[in-house]
Amino acid sequence: MSKKEKLQDIPAEIRPFLTRRRVLQAGAIGGAAAVAAACGAGGSTTDAAAPATESVDNSESAKKVVWSNWPLYMPVDEDTKAYPDLEAFTAETGIAVEYIEDYNDNNEFYAKQKPLLDKGAPLGRDIVTPTDFMANIWIKNGFALELDQSNIPNISNLNEAYKNVAFDPGRKFSLPWQAGFTGLGWNKAKLKATLGTDTITSMDQFFDSKLKGQVVVLSELLDTIPLILSWQGNDPTQFGDSEFQKAIDYLQSKVDDGHIQAFTGNEYATALENGDVIAVIGWSGDLGQLGEDFGFDLPESGGSKFVDNMLIPAGAEHKTNAEKLINFFYDPVVAARVAEYVQYISPVDGAAEELMKSDPALAENQLIFPSDELLKRAYSTMPLTSEQEAKYNEAWAKLIGN
């Protein structure tokens, strides 16, 4: 019996609250806190790309490490509510892990920590887990500490595909935690009743007028835009203002004619389960956890692949301990346990082989072991320049009604 099955045993009513990116819209509360924090930060200017504040490494004197990660992104023992892998790390190294599931939203987390980062004050965290585009912002602004790779010998297990990323060539500052897909998800029964088929293979179907008012898309720009870009024949890994504008214009027309019901971001899975919507742009692991009645695929024109990265924030007080923890999770055996539980793709070489050994049936699971054909349709997201970021975010905010 695998842990994956255990996850699906959770009653349907509470499961929607329990996936990686969604815990009861906690972002909204956090948002209020961030507004308060932001008020205090008035007038501060950041010297962009300034060297990160010299941080004191207390790893020797204080045997602990603090990690901020997305909710439900770490195997949990259902009975004791403990994290067996973190306990194993403590047993091996004597370093206690304080694991906080407070990373609910890339923008919100960054907005909350920014005033501290600007001042060079410690965040009280030694590892944070931003998605690609946000990792880009942390690194670009000098808010990440360079990893001492001699403390991470297991870095040799990093899969070739993740070694060179545009925002961090040579992986000097960050290492991937898990990867997943952004694509189309749907309610099979309702789709059959409306479109006469129980799979969606293209964006044309997603925007079929029969689905009017029955679809929601993700509220994070770099989740939704790449799907539209590639569908319009543009390259989502390399696009400029005109291509972006074309995608925005199309989405605007679909907002105006009522095709898109909402930009939900977090709670689309609940909406799918409750029958409020038929199809969504969503994340692979979420749909995987919803079970048999729901489908997930990348459209023919392509979807995107996201990677969540571990990095050590400026001002971290236990840098060496953090590196040791990262090293621990780059052990293929440990990585296999994590991937099996969270249903996302492990960036660690050898994890796949370990998983096959323990449960050969898992090889069928496209979400953990994507086929080459599926990977060919998955683009990684383009890191935006500061100028693009400011301009695109503003256009995006207008589109989604803010």
Binding site: L24, Q25, A26, A28, I29, G31, A32, A34, V35, A38, C39, G40, A41, G42, G43, S44, T45, T46, A48, N107, E108, A111, K114, D118, I137, K140, N141, G213, V255, I260, Q261, A262, F263, E267, T270, A271, N274, G275, D276, V277, S386, E387, E389, A390, N393, E394, A397, L399, I400, G401, N402
Partner: protein
Amino acid sequence: MSIAQESIITKPTRRRIKRTPYLLILPGIGWLFLFFIFPLSTLFATSLQKPAGISPDDGFLPAFKVSNYSSALVEYYPQFFRGFLYSGIATVICLLLAYPIAYYMAFRARKYRNLMLVLIVAPFFASFLLRTNAWKTILSGDGIVVGFLNSFNLLPQDRILNTSLAVVAGLTYNFLPFMILPLYTSLEKIDPRLIEAAGDLYSPPSQRFWKVVWPLSIPGVISGTLLTFIPASGDYINAELLGSIKDKMIGNVIQSQFIDLRDYPTASALSFTFMAIILVMIYLYIRRAGTDDLV
């Protein structure tokens, strides 16, 4: 001579009496200064800043950029309008729902009065977010409410969730207790003998209400509407969770400016404009309602 002596003796005592109240409000003043005046002035300073570079991460420089206000208003007046409209409607519905409840509690409930009070306050034991999220399930497409209303073809869009109806309903639900409680306190203070006296003077029930009860409950009506309207107009949770793209209120814009765009000057300018509008509205309202004891 004796008068002069007397004044010398009484002086210190009088001075001490005068000083005590000031000393007593000192902690309150200090609190207000630290947690209200100071953040408010920082916010005001932020609202006039100009960007230091292209990206919000480059930071902002102190400046006197008044155009932050005009551009924010031009850009977001629909959300301002919508925020006040939705919260205004919700306030009126709250008043209509709350008055009979408060009236019943004050004059008829007798031994059930405390039970009713507990029931009204009970929702506060669950988190605001959790309760609003629960409404998503209640109003969902496969839920009973939508099924029932749809069977009578009462829903123009075949759904409630992600419509303005859901936002107003959510606001009404969430702020109803803030209307009931002040109404109840002011109704409860009315001496029932006044109503009896009106009856003795051959006043019919409707006249008894409009001539006696209603005027005496005005302070409760005013504080109830203010307690409902002010937080409701700044609320963003209801519009975020229950509304569609076209139902966003000013709170959503401010939240997104702070968190997603990190455009602190625009967000601060919006916050300040919002506060100013609210202040003017309240001033006019209280002037018109013509009372200065808000109990």
